[in-house]
């Protein structure tokens, strides 16, 4: 019941927002933040009550806050939700990130009421996906995230938003249909004919039909791979991000991508263990290719937001590497595979926090200069030191520096995966070098050197009259910015800071005190490692 309340609370508030046309914008925004806070409290309470590290890790038993109501009896689909070590971190991530985005949007002036409603609705969809223990329920929420995100991009995006939104919708919709087909395969393949994930994981369907199992896994895999996204299904991502509003991008990268990887670990691995083992090497290879491809293509970008979008491909590649390696049961001991899975789950959280922060920071750029082009910005550390500091911190977090959550994730993925897939892992490790390079070069181009701020070439969206000459003369040792320069690039506002900084603080806390999260994840990872080895 508590979980149900937690899942639907944002949607209820969203409905209320829609139903009250007279609400002023600031009130709506505050309502959003209030609802997100309440949500965070609820999830925090669940975390508090969650029995950490007990014998039952979840997935097949020992699920907390479980609720199971029959929904469509003939196909045995139900409203079955619950929390375990896999879902709890992601639920918490969702609550945190939506709160941050809510704070970020406090100054939203473009149809704030609907804006808040769309995001709150999206929050329910995300929470629901993570909480779902029924394939159909999972799919329902999964699909709703697409719808909600479509409206967010189409309604509040910029640039060619409609086109990107359409591309996003179509692409991910294809994925969700493949997913649906796969789910039906699971339903029909099982002895008992049910959509219940727990039951299916206890008694995996299609165990003795490798071809059917492989095809079903293919369908599910494609569906999730598009959402994740991994190479070569990733091309919707940069477009969607480029034209999405900052808040939407933060959610898209921070939460929505996790739906895909979460699906792998929650559905594909426990329910199709035999097929997963058989095709684990393919998963590993896809993961490694995504790692390198994402990193290299990101390196070549000239647009900050696209660059960050591509690093998401890279980071999700690590997740896939870990999960794939966890399926190579013959080549590695359970311990290593558990560590790989733990790392993969940790990576989801870490990436959510850091990429969320990065996208919000690019939102700062957009709000100041209406462009993401790397060559139109420079030396921002002078006019906007706080921005620069946060950007640098996020970048170092994203490149996997120890002390940040991402290090915990990547370290575990690599160490866990090496035994099972040595060559692939060694190749994938290169990814962290390339990401390091690209983030450092971004820092260098954006923050250091002479200060450059985009000229206002769109008179309708004029910010402030820019000083005629904005470049600082090259060279020299001057540390003083020219006085007029800060006009075009005001530093972070309070609401922006309050939105972004907590994410980074969390990323650091989770990087230094990983037990907080690992206590929850590890038992579940052990269970999944055991299940997939069946």
């Amino acid at each position: 019941m508590l979980l149900t309340v937690a899942v639907f609370l944002p949607a209820v508030v969203a409905a209320a927002l829609v139903a009250m046309p007279r609400l002023t914008g600031p009130t709506a925004n505050r309502l959003w933040v209030g609802a997100s806070l309440a949500e965070l409290v609820l999830v925090g309470w669940m975390w508090w009550r969650f029995d950490q590290g007990s014998g039952a890790g979840g997935v097949t038993d020992g699920l907390a806050f479980e609720a199971d109501v029959r929904w469509i009896p003939t196909v045995d689909a139900g409203y079955h939700v619950g929390v375990d070590g896999l879902s709890l971190p992601l639920l918490a991530l969702t609550a945190v990130l939506f709160l941050a985005v809510g704070i970020w949007s406090l100054r939203q002036t473009d149809r704030p009421r609907l804006h808040a409603a769309a995001f709150l609705f999206l929050e329910t969809a995300c929470l629901g996906t993570f909480a779902a223990l029924d394939l159909i329920l999972f799919f329902v929420f999964f699909d709703l995230t697409i719808v909600a995100m479509y409206f967010v991009i189409a309604g509040w995006g910029h640039g060619n938003a409609r086109r990107s939104a359409l591309k996003f919708f179509l692409y991910t919709f294809v994925g969700s249909l493949a997913l649906l087909v796969g789910f039906i395969g699971l339903f029909l393949g099982g002895e008992t004919r049910t959509f219940d994930m727990v039951a299916l994981a206890q008694d995996p369907p299609l165990a003795d039909s490798p071809v059917a199992g492989g095809l079903v896994l293919l369908a599910i895999g494609i569906g999730l791979a598009i959402k994740t996204p991994v190479f070569p299904f990733h091309t919707w991502l940069p477009d969607a991000h480029t034209d999405a509003p900052a808040a939407g991008s933060a959610i898209l990268a921070g939460i929505l991508l996790k739906l895909g990887t979460y699906g792998f670990i929650r559905i594909a691995m426990p329910i199709l263990p035999e097929a997963w083992q058989r095709w684990a090497m393919v998963v590993v290879v896809v993961g490694v290719v995504s790692v390198l491809w994402g990193a290299l293509v990101a390196l070549a970008q000239t647009d900050v937001k696209r660059m960050i979008a591509y690093t998401s491909v890279n980071h999700m590649g690590y997740v896939l590497l870990g999960l794939g390696a966890a399926g190579l049961a013959a080549d590695a001991d359970p311990q290593a595979r558990s560590i790989a899975i733990t790392g993969a789950v940790y990576q989801m959280v870490a990436h959510g926090l850091l990429t969320g922060a990065l996208f919000l920071l690019t939102g700062v750029l957009w709000s100041r200069g209406r462009t993401y082009a790397l060559d139109r910005w420079g030396g921002l550390a002078r006019p906007a030191p706080v921005f620069a500091a946060l950007f640098a911190v996020s970048a170092f977090g994203a490149l996997g520096l120890p002390g940040f959550a991402s290090f915990i994730a990547e370290f575990q993925i690599f160490t866990g995966a090496l035994q099972a897939a040595p060559v692939a892992t060694v190749v994938a490790v290169l990814g962290i070098l390339i990401t390091a390079g690209l983030f450092l070069s971004a820092i260098q181009r954006l923050l250091a050197g002479p200060t450059v701020i985009p000229q206002d070439d769109d008179p309708t969206e004029s910010l402030q009259p820019a000083p005629a000459e904005q470049r600082v003369p090259d060279g020299g040792t001057t540390t003083l910015a020219r006085p007029g320069i800060a006009v075009g690039m005001p530093d972070l506002r309070r609401s922006e800071l309050v939105a972004i900084a907590p994410l980074l603080v969390l990323a650091v806390v989770l990087g230094l005190l990983p037990r907080l999260l690992l206590e929850v994840i590890e038992p579940a990872a052990v269970v999944v490692a055991g299940l997939v080895a069946r």
């Binding site: 359409l166 290299l296 070549a300 370290f411 090259d474 037990r515 690992l518 590890e522 990872a525």
Partner: protein, 622 residues
Amino acid sequence: MSAAAGVLITLISTPAAVGAALLVGGRRADRLASLVAVVTAVLGLVGATVVLAQRPEASLPFLGLVDGGDLRFAVDGLSAVLVGLVATMSFLVTCFAVADLPHDAARARFFGFFLLFVAAMLATVTAVTLPALLIGWEVMGATSYALIGYRWQDAGKLTAGTRAFLTTRAGDLGLYVAAGAALAGTGGLVLADLPTSDGGWQHVAAAGILVAALGKSAQLPFSAWLSGAMQGPSAVSALLHSATMVAAGGYLLLRVQPLLEATGWAAAAAAWIGALTALVLGAIAVAQRDLKQLLAASTAAQIGFVVLAAGVGAVAGGSAQLLAHAAVKAGLFVAAGAWLTSLGTKQLVGLRGAARRHRGVGAAATVAALALGGIPPLSLWASKEEVLAGVDGAALRVVGFAASALSAVYAARMLTVLLAPPTGAEPLDDEEHGTRRVPVAVSTIAIVLAVFAAGLGALALPPVADSLSAVLLSQEGSAPALSELLLGGLLALVAFGATLVVIRTRPAVLPVLERSALGSWAGLGHLLSARPALSLARALERVDDQVIDRVVMGTATAVRSGAAQLAGADGRVVDGAVRGVAGAFRRAGALARRPQTGLLHQYYVQAAAGLGVLLALLLAVR
């Protein structure tokens, strides 16, 4: 956890916490920063003394599921030496930095990163498990980036930091792999278990660690980043080249020496790489015209001896070399920094007679330089001989001696310039505006370091060496015989003298050397260029945008143009957006609507034909 363990944790975490606090404080904390940093450094000294006496072991929970997943730190013999060294050097360099930094500098940022850097090094040298090691190791790299790029406003400074970080991180990848290999081979992540790991994993681990250490220590082929690292403030160079960062690689190899030995090949590889680095970078050092560049190259060369020591199993000698080199190099960098602040240049041309202008610093620098050249009875002479005593193969020994002689050569080269009487026409202030004075504090620090540089020669004297070995808990190494010591010293003196003679008689040699490839670091910088990666990246981006995206969107160019035509014909197409896929679909859609002619008799024919086809299907497929 025992009290001593608590001290150990505090020792590592205090500078980290204080550093982080300073960073968060930003410019508001600038005023306090110096004081806080010095106090922290003093506390570090105290803490180091405690842990040296107690040798505690401490553990913090970190990763689960596996032995060694925790953050475990311990102080054994080897790390005790390093902890003492790091604490001392960081204290001295902190003091130097306080005196040397300009008044309006962003001190909080400087000392923040500086303290983080020190904390990372302390973590590195006391780490017992791989996660702990990797954390210290990588944070050190990142903070070195921030310190080198401390003056980010200047073009190129941050680039140098980036280069340093990327190069060392390229090496660090080895450590990640090694961690995986450790898990696979030993089922745990404890560093000391590595030699017992099974199968090929041992080799993987050794290779990974070797690469990581070479990268950090700027050994071949990773040396070039060290050149760029000179962009950082002098204090940074002083610390980075003495007790930290560069030393970390050598330290790590000494630490895992049993593993290297167990694999067979790794020890030999380390020995050879160390020796060759000493030789090549020594030659490069000779050819430099910039004092700091010279010192940088010499650092890599001197650490080469440490790596050599790790390769041949001379742990005691290697440790002694680390200690001695730290003192020598810190002293020299303090001197170089002082001159830079005072005279505004670090070019050798401009520094002519610098030792005479500021006598305190000059004296200290002279002593340190002599030590660097391996002139007996100063410190590096002794430690180098101890390392070389452990060398077995003749070829390796020859290379070692040659490298050793080269160090005398560059020391002589340096001293001829520094000690020459100033002409008054030296080009000064080519880098910054000199103050023309050296604070007393700086001179004092330089002199203290010079005393260490001279005194640590005692390390090589048999009784001291024995006790050092005891400290290190290792077997008595092959301590050099007295004859060897003397022979080595003689070689150094000869080389030193010969250099003086050559420079005096044929000064034209120097410009030739400077213009040679050696002057520009023998092209090592190109070795690890990012250019191929970048061009690959661009190519992939094109593939991504033009192939994958289009393939996925289901159209080739032809379809696109067809769609565009259709879209042109039909101006009301709401979404030119979906032109990609839409193109194909639109054509199919137009095709699908073609039967809908509006003419009934055509409907009739089509319906009849359709039914006929279905009938045929029904009869054909049974």
